[in-house]
Symmetry: C2
Subunit: 152 residues, 2 copies
DNA sequence: GGCTAGACGGAAACGATTCTCATTCCGATT
DNA sequence: AATCGGAATGAGAATCGTTTCCGTCTAGCC
């Protein structure tokens, strides 16, 4: 497998991922590396189909399985929208905290970030809620649903 | 069908729904009324299975079909989480703007609202983003993912 | 009463995801 | 470098929530 990587995983990222996987007793194999490279090259949340198209050497069953492994290890995040396909992207702590623009017409997902002030305000409000409800917060998800400029 | 409604749809709500449906050339039939009653009685987002259990007179195929109709008409909203079941609840404009606490352990979804100030701040920030990206915003979705007090 | 378009319900079809299992790969050990 | 053990892989089959089909029934209308 693997001849021409679509995107290069630099040493630091490589070590982070290897480490994350090791914590779940998993190895950073070639197939998993190819998945991460595809996601890195994609630059935005991708469906399994998109990933498989990007790198035809990947077997569908392995892609599904390994994305589950990578998600469990905290390397990638699974995003569910309203269309029928799950999407994956690199986890936030390997990139940066962000949110999603979801196109209700074509299903495409792109990333965006709030400015620091808005994010801080949001965070404070959410902590209040969490405290009031006895809910242990792991993450917050903020999506904008609308129509992207392509579909408009 | 329909003998003992689980929850009563007051006149105002009834008219609103009838009107929404009429705009998509659909009628507010007994089966659809039963669905809305079940959702109303549930008081929180429900899976199809929960809806069907609530009212055993409902046929599965009709429930799925009618929920699609009701969603297209803007009467209900479909919520997709990370577990395997889609959930439905009454649309925001028939209730009030709110967000979701999603339990990553049991999949349960409950509603919460931000205080007005936080919501306004969020809204302002999102409008900025939308303007900058050429994205036409239809709605925003804010979910808190974590562990509910039952699962803790 | 009949007529017609739409709604209904049971069952079959669909499709994204998961499972199975035989095979291959990887790393450690002699 | 040969071997062994356990994990990873890939092709296809199985799963299961959801959707669609299709014959039947209803509601509304003349």
């Amino acid at each position: 497998m693997s001849t021409e990587p679509l995107a290069t995983i630099d040493t630091e990222l490589d070590e982070q991922i290897t480490d994350l996987l090791r914590r779940s007793d998993q190895r950073f194999t070639k197939g998993r590396r190819a998945l991460v490279e595809a996601l890195l090259a994609g630059g935005q949340p991708m469906t399994i189909h998109q990933v498989l198209e990007t790198d035809t050497r990947l077997a569908q069953s392995s892609a599904y399985r390994n994305l589950v492994v990578l998600e469990a290890a905290g390397v990638v995040t699974r995003i569910v929208t309203n269309d029928d396909f799950a999407r994956y992207e690199l986890a936030e702590h390997l990139t940066h905290h962000h949110h999603h623009l979801i196109c209700s017409s074509c299903g495409d997902v792109t990333d965006f970030a709030l400015d620091d002030q808005a994010e801080a305000g949001l965070d404070a409000a959410l902590h209040k809620i969490a405290a009031a409800t006895g809910f242990t917060v792991e993450a917050h998800r903020l999506d904008l649903v609308g129509v992207c400029s392509d579909c408009d």
